[in-house]
Amino acid sequence: MRKLILLFFLSLLVTTLTAQEKVGISGKVIDNTGLGLPGVSILEKGTVNGTVTDVNGNYSLQVSRQSTLVFSFIGFLTQEIPVGSKTTIDIEMAESIVGLDEVIVVGYGKMVVKDLTSSISTIKAEELVKSPSGQAMQALQGKVAGLQVVSSGAPGDAPTIRVRGIGSYPGRDNEAPLYVVDGMFYDNIDFLNTADISSISVLKDASAAAIYGVRAANGVVLIETKSGGYEQKAEISYDGYFGTQVAQNVLKMANAEQFTTMANESGSAADAGFILNSMQKYGRSRINPNVPDVNTDWYNEILRPAAIHNHSVNITGGSKQASYAIGTNYFAQEGILDMKNEYQRFNLRSKIDYKATDWLTVGGNVIFSNALKYNDEAGAWNQAYFAVPIMPVYDESNTKAWPEPWANAQDLGYRGGQNPFPTLKYNENQLKIKKLLANFYAQFEILPDKLSFKTTYSHAFTSLDERNVNLPYYIGDGFQRPDATLTKRMSNTSNQIWDNVLTYNDRLDNHSFTVMAGQSYRDEAYHGLSAQGIDFPYDQEQAWYIDQAGTVPPTGVLNDGLRQYGISYFGRLSYNYNDRYLLYATMRADGSSKYQQKWGYFPTIGVGWVISEERFMENIKGLDYLKLRANWGQLGNDKIQASDGASTTTVVNTVFDGVMVAGTTTTSTYSSLKWELTEETNIGLTSRLFDNRLSADIDYYIRDTKNAAIYVRIPSTTSSVLKNVGVIRNSGFELTLNWANEISEDFSYNVGLNLSTLKNEVRDLYGQPYIDGGMAEFRQRSMVGEPLLAFFGYKVLGVYQNQSEINSDPSAPAGAVPGDLKYQDQQEQGEPGYGVINDDDRVVLGSYFPTFMYGFNIGISWKDFDFSANMSGQNGNSILNRKRGEIIWTAGENMDADLAVNRWHGEGTSNKYPSSAGLRKGWNQKMSDYFVEDGSFFRIQNLQLAYNIRDKKISAFNIPESRIILTAERPLTLFKYNGFNPEVANGIDTQTYPVPAVYTVGLSIKF
């Protein structure tokens, strides 16, 4: 019996033990980049038993087997995992959109997202590396509301970036935002390896950017490079991909048969004769004996698939006192144009921070980028467009040709040789780019955790070494280059910035605030020297030096330089009352040597109200956070050149009796210029809903550029002068929605959407009704109430179908025939100007600014797989099809197939395009919406599928953590425009490098 009782108690005890048994659970919490996450709270569900992870993300905890562990961390999705029989639980936390407690970089400091009153979009490293591109900014296309990225297909070329429209008159490289790389100012970041960037923050509104004063008017993009972490084990990683680029949406040109039809219908006996010449020379097609037996698709001939690859090795880590990141990267990209056209870049970098004492931290950051670029001959795109299809690439009968027998259109009677291959084969444009960014700082903790002083010196050094070689050839008497010419240009840019910043932050009860005051000294120097040599021994590249040239024309020797200084004082106040009321103000005084007016002052103020913290909001379900923001600020744009601000004298050469003499010309057209002033008001909402699963950010802004410097054409001369004579307004609405959810441990997903509208409008031209831009033949006009540089011309009603239609149209010109365009007479009957088409009938035909841009992304993670897709597009912009427009200078060359097929050639055949003969008439060549086309497009930006290998073994060996990635960049673009590519930065399509689709396979390994 005692035994029985004992047994009973024992069993009871065991049962109790089983129920109450505490087991030790340990593990590591990492983020999706594999880094350990410190500070994650782990709680046994329904109890107060819990812990937080250490600096490396490790934890251990005693819990009961039946319990469930809740992992939570601000900014990440909360996860619940049952303990069961596990003793180790390693988890990867998925980010819940941008966390409100996340610290992001702002100018000269950092701020917590929830303290922001302005509009800042931050893109993280893992988003950036999705795009297989040498250009980090390319990865932002379609991802940031209000940011327009116009890609460039040419290897090594940076995309065009516009933040919230365009406030400065374009065309002078003054639309680009300011890039601040670890505190140093840049015009572009083409030298950076995307994988070295930790985050890119776009400061969209004036309030965020105003701390950069006179440089900030086009928006500011802050780039932070990756650092190591204190007390972090060394991590060695490799990231790389290789792939191929394929031209997309290649424009279909008229083939030999279509071209022959057009020539025969043109009414030009000369052009019909050229077709006969081609048939005589190359024979008649067996299918259609009236068509030459040649059918060259020139685009097909000059395009090629091109390779792209990228390899990075990085080591990061740190001890208690030091942290480091050291890495190297090699990127190589061929161009899709069949010539020496490629880009290679080799980067080295090292970033070290060292806590020398408890009050002094010092650090150094060095990036060295060494690139070799072979630029394309842009002219070849144009030549391939216009080259007639009735000519072969090679013509063996051209026996006089040298070094290779390329065909010559002049042999058929055309004025030019047309064949693009001499351009491709006998030119080489080499550019060696070396960039060095050195950045050192010392930070003193004067009052620990409260008052600190940081002094930073940055130096950006760029050396450009350019060598353009034009080799001789002979295709025909009128299609030859007798001399080998060599142009060398060397330049270096040395920019220095020295910043001193004092920061104080403190908290008194519910009042917390940060006060920052600083000053900055800037010194920018540029120096360039170039020379030309003619007739050098060109067979060996080793002889490609000016010294070897027979002739060095003195007019080919150029030397120029630039030196500008800037001194700035700035300050910031950021105040937070009880996490409910926010106040933000900055002020910058900028002194510049560039203009007669030396000093400018750029203030901003912003307020925020966290409504969700108010008591009356407590019971609203689903709403986690709601903040109303409003701000106002002023910015400057000092990219306006200074040279027009003074009357200048230029040296010109001429000859008297065969002797060269120098004289001078003096330009008397000048005005005193100053920087442009941009003023912006932004109101917005930041919200988090449904347990932080949904984030919604909404902004509305009005951005006015005052003193906009605009080129005013000088009457009766070829020149124009820049004057501060405009007010340009950009306004728009931006919406960013992100939804992230985790269905189970194995399956999570996120969906994002961003939309933005843009209205660009000229508000004032200081009394002038309009300012003309563009070319006389393809007029662009900036008028009050219309977008900047709107396309301006006649509206096409259709095509005259028959003589009676012409007879009944009072506005038809004398000599009109069926097949001519019919323009809209803007005057009503009885008004002056009715019954005749003249310049008063010109109207705005469109603008090159998209009025609506959107991006959409989806990410799915399932077990070891993850997939993401990005889509983007734009609407409302127009493109001037200048390739078609070229016919006004040279008729008789090739055209796109759409035009050839859909031309008017008899009643009812087309109401859109003129007849072949009509295309050559001045009447139909007026600037009209025949030339201006819809530039909308939709694109699948990026598709990526990745497989992650974690904790896998092959026999006894641990496989390092790896990731295999398949990427398709821009696999599909849909648009209506009759061109290669709807991405034309300035809306005028003469020749754009096609943007290729890129398909890559990538691998990441971490040791």
Partner: protein, 511 residues
């Protein structure tokens, strides 16, 4: 210790802050690599000639389209613009398109250089004020005025009423009223009267400072041209008489070579645009784009010499007119024949047999092959391939472009006299016969005005539209209605370019 530490930190911060503040005066540094006009040392009077040389440089560097548009409308020449530059061909047929780029470009090119002349005048005045040689300043200013006058003359002949700038700042045009063609010609004549006393009295090729530059006789010739437009024949004769009486000009005996290398700074020239390849086979080259005028297809004597574009075609009317007159050297010099062109002439039974010298090979040995755009090319714009500097291949490189030559002065003189004016130096018969003699034609006696005009047609075809502007001035519109064209008086002037109408409201409504 802690206190010292604190002081060190504060001191460092303060020193750093002050160091930046010390850089303030750098903000006043002027820009690099720029010669500011206000920094020009005007007291260095040796440089006073530089602005004038600059004005010549701008005058010589003519846009290639200037000459064709100024010259294409006469019955001496056709556009040849088939298949290309349609509106240039339409202009030749008197169908004008104010939006056509060439109109605006020529307008701008001429005006821009007028402003450069003004600017040169203003700069020379600044040198004079700083102590420069006053007589030299007067001469330089007079030269710039003469160049300016030639451009104003061409502007007004092409467009009729124009704006006369009064200074180097183009914005003055915004407040300038239109001047009628007569007012412009009067202005030119007055300007030349102002300039003449200060200009050197010599042949341009006798000048040593600016060889080939403007002289008194250049200004006199421009004065004569302006007065011809005004039909002020007395003033014409008075100006031409002075040139003739000076004895400083002679006709080049070899008419063919006058338009080749030999014609450079020839004693016959009063004004020419100077170009040179500096005698080098490569490298710097100052040149006019003669390719525009050249045959599109040729077999040059010197292999590798580049051909042209074929846009300036002597008219069939002119060729037949010359054949009728029994012209030889002038026709041979003015027209390059193709076989297709020769066949086309022969289709007219009247010209079934042509003189033996009519051939598609020039006397210099270049063969002109058939090409689609035109049947003939301009010989006065042709430089034989064997006259190119070895190494150069561009059509016409190293050839000058003559603006005014003595033969035109002689014929203006004869024209004025046959219109009733009186002059000295030569009679109308003497003047015409001097020109005819060089052309290998028999002398005339009792020359009539009609004969003078025919002589001008024969002698000056393809040169600066002289023929067209003569016909306009004399109202001989039926001459311009040739080869299917219909001319009427309202077609006399080009419409103002749309770009300029957009910029200068005063032009609006005056087209």
């Amino acid at each position: 210790m802690k206190r010292i530490n604190y002081i060190v930190k504060i001191t460092f911060a303060v020193v750093a802050l002050l160091a930046v503040t010390a850089c303030h005066d750098l903000l006043d540094e002027p820009a690099e690599n720029r010669a500011f006009t206000e920094e020009t040392d005007y007291s260095n009077s040796g440089n006073m000639i530089l602005p004038l040389i600059g004005a010549y440089a701008e005058f010589y560097s003519r846009g290639w389209e200037d000459f064709p548009l100024i010259a294409v409308r006469g019955d001496d020449v056709n556009a040849g613009g088939q298949g290309d530059q349609q509106d240039y061909a339409e202009t030749d047929k008197f169908n004008y398109n104010k939006d056509y780029w060439m109109y605006n470009s020529v307008w701008q090119n001429l005006y821009l250089d007028i402003f450069f002349c003004h600017s040169a005048i203003e700069q020379v005045e600044l040198y004079r004020a700083a102590g420069g040689n006053s007589a030299k300043a007067d001469q330089y200013i007079a030269e710039a005025k003469t160049l300016r006058a030639f451009m104003l003359l061409n502007l007004s002949r092409a467009w009729g009423s124009i704006l006369i700038p009064s200074g180097s700042d183009p914005s003055v045009l915004l407040v300038t009223q239109l001047s009628t063609k007569d007012e412009v010609m009067k202005h030119i004549s007055d300007q030349m009267d102002e300039a003449i006393p200060f200009l050197p009295d010599m042949n341009p090729n006798q000048r040593t400072d600016i060889k080939g530059g403007v002289t008194k006789h250049t200004a006199l010739a421009i004065k004569a041209m302006a007065n011809l437009e005004l039909k002020n024949y007395a003033a014409v004769a008075q100006a031409t008489s002075q040139i003739i009486s000076s004895g400083k000009f002679t006709l080049e005996p070899n008419f063919y070579e006058l338009f080749k290398i030999k014609g450079k700074l020839n004693s016959e020239n009063l004004l020419e645009l100077q170009y040179s390849d500096l005698g080098q086979g490569s490298g710097t080259n100052f040149s006019y784009l003669y390719a525009f005028f050249g045959s599109e297809n040729w077999t040059p004597k010197v292999t590798g010499a580049g051909s042209g574009w074929g846009f300036f075609e002597p008219s069939m009317k002119y060729i037949k007119f010359m054949l009728d007159r029994g012209e030889t050297v002038r026709l041979e010099t003015s027209v390059l024949f193709t076989n297709r062109g020769i066949t086309e002439i022969k289709k007219d039974a009247k010209y079934a047999s042509l003189p033996a010298w009519v051939s598609n090979t020039t006397r210099s040995g270049d063969r002109i092959n058939d090409y689609a755009r035109a049947m003939f090319a301009s010989g006065k714009h042709y430089l034989p391939s064997d006259q190119l500097t070895p190494g150069r291949t561009d059509y016409g490189t190293n050839k000058n472009l003559t603006c005014i030559r003595y033969a035109e002065v002689l014929l203006m003189h004869a024209e004025a006299l046959t219109q009733g004016a009186s002059g000295t130096g030569m009679t109308a018969d003497q003047a015409v016969n001097a020109v005819r003699n060089r052309a290998g034609l028999q002398a005339l006696t009792g020359v009539t005005n009609a004969q003078v005009m025919d002589e001008k047609f024969a002698e000056l075809a393809m040169e600066w539209g002289i023929r067209y502007y003569d016909m306009i001035r004399l109202g001989k519109y039926n001459e311009l209605s040739y080869d299917g064209r219909t001319f009427s008086e309202n077609k006399s002037f080009l419409p103002y370019p749309q770009t300029q109408i957009d910029l200068l409201p005063v032009l609006k409504g005056n087209n």
